[in-house]
C-alpha cells in the first residue's frame, strides 16, 4: 500500500469530526499560508493535501480559483460539499495530475511530512507552479515549543504498530528544525523568499470535544486500530487534565513554521 493510500484511509475514518472539531485548530496557520502565497482575487491556487477544505474555503472567500487534492477518499467529499464549484480530486503529492506551470500559487499546509518521499513531493509542488509563482509549505514547530506534541506524542507512540520497513515519515516532528523547510524548497529548485512562525493554540471547550477532535487524526486512528480506543483515549484524558485552565477549557500552546519559495 502506498503512503498516500495508508494516510488517506486513516484520515478518512472520521471526516465529519475532523472537519467540525480538528481542522480549525490551525486556523491562524492557514491564513498565514494564504498571505505568504500571495493568494488574492483571481489567483489560481492549488492546495496540496487539502483535507476537509478549510484553506480552500478561505481562499475562495478571497476570490481565488481553488484546486484541491488529497489522498483521503473519506475527506475529499467534504470540500466537495463546501465548495461545489471547486476543482477537487483524489491524488498524492508525489505524483500530481497537473501540467507544469498550472498554478499561480501552491500551498501544502501540514501535509508534506506525511508523504513517503518529501523531496519528490516538493519537486512536484515546484513543477506545477508557474515561474514567478509562490509555493508555501508548513510544518509543526519544535516539539519543545508545541505543548500538544509534548503532551501526547510519547504516549500515543507507544500504542502505534511498529513501522514497516518502507514506512512514510508521517511524523509531525519532521521538518521542525530551523532551516529544514527552507532546505526542502531549495532542494526542489525554488528560491526561498521568506520564513515565519505562527502561534496556533489548540483550544477545546471540554475533554469530550477534545477527544472527538483528536480521534479523527490519522496517527491516532493508527494507534486506535493497533491498541484500541480506550488506550489511546487514556493518553488524551491525562494530557487534557494537565492542560485544563481554571474555566475548564483545555488549551495547548503550539508553534507552527512556514516557508515561502518562488519558482525562478
Amino acid at each position: 500500500m502506498s503512503s498516500a493510500a495508508v494516510q488517506g484511509e486513516l484520515w478518512g475514518k472520521r471526516p465529519r469530526d475532523y472537519a467540525a472539531y480538528l481542522e480549525q485548530v490551525t486556523l491562524p496557520l492557514q491564513g498565514a499560508a494564504l498571505d505568504a502565497a500571495h493568494v488574492m482575487a483571481g489567483t489560481h491556487l492549488l492546495d496540496a493535501g487539502c483535507g476537509a477544505g478549510l484553506l480552500a474555503v478561505l481562499a475562495s472567500l478571497r476570490g481565488a480559483h481553488v484546486t484541491g487534492i488529497d489522498a483521503s477518499p473519506g475527506l475529499i467529499g467534504i470540500p466537495r460539499e463546501r465548495l461545489p464549484a471547486a476543482d477537487l480530486r483524489e491524488g498524492e503529492l508525489e505524483s500530481l495530475p497537473f501540467p507544469e506551470g498550472s498554478f499561480d500559487a501552491v500551498t501544502a499546509v501540514n501535509s508534506i511530512f506525511y508523504t513517503a518521499d518529501m523531496a519528490k513531493a516538493m519537486r512536484e509542488l515546484a513543477r506545477v507552479v508557474r515561474p514567478g509563482g509562490r509555493v508555501v509549505v508548513t510544518a509543526w514547530g519544535p516539539p519543545e515549543r508545541c505543548e500538544f506534541l509534548s503532551a501526547v506524542l510519547a504516549g500515543v507512540g507507544q500504542l502505534m504498530p511498529p513501522p514497516p520497513p518502507d514506512a512514510a515519515p508521517g511524523h509531525p516532528g519532521a521538518l521542525s528544525k530551523p532551516g529544514e523547510l527552507a532546505a526542502l524548497l531549495q532542494g526542489a529548485g525554488l528560491r526561498v523568499l521568506d520564513e515565519g512562525e505562527v502561534s496556533c493554540p489548540f483550544v477545546f471547550p471540554n475533554a469530550e470535544t477534545s477527544w472527538r477532535a483528536n480521534a479523527s487524526a490519522g496517527p491516532n486512528q493508527m494507534a486506535i486500530a493497533h491498541s484500541g480506543e480506550a488506550a489511546v483515549r487514556a493518553v488524551y484524558i491525562e494530557a487534557d487534565r494537565n492542560h485544563t485552565r481554571p474555566d475548564g477549557t483545555i488549551r495547548y500552546e503550539n508553534v507552527f513554521l512556514w516557508a515561502a519559495g518562488e519558482r525562478v
Partner: protein, 56 residues
C-alpha cells in the same frame, strides 16, 4: 455532468503527465499515452496511480 470541461483542460496523468480523456458516461479518465484509466467516484477523479488500470 459534474466534471467541467475547464477542469479537464488542466488534468494530466500523474505518472507520465500526458493528457487524459473523459470516458463515455464519465466513469473514468484515460491517459492518451500510458492508457491508464483513473476512476471517477462521486464526481471526484481518483488520480492515484495505484488505483488506475491499464486498458488498451
Amino acid at each position: 455532468m459534474a466534471i467541467s470541461k475547464d477542469l479537464l483542460e488542466i488534468l494530466v496523468c500523474p505518472l507520465c503527465k500526458a493528457t487524459v480523456e473523459l470516458l463515455p458516461g464519465e466513469t473514468g479518465l484515460k491517459c492518451v499515452q500510458c492508457k491508464r484509466v483513473y476512476p471517477i467516484r462521486d464526481d471526484i477523479p481518483v488520480m492515484l496511480i495505484d488505483e488506475a488500470r491499464i486498458e488498451e
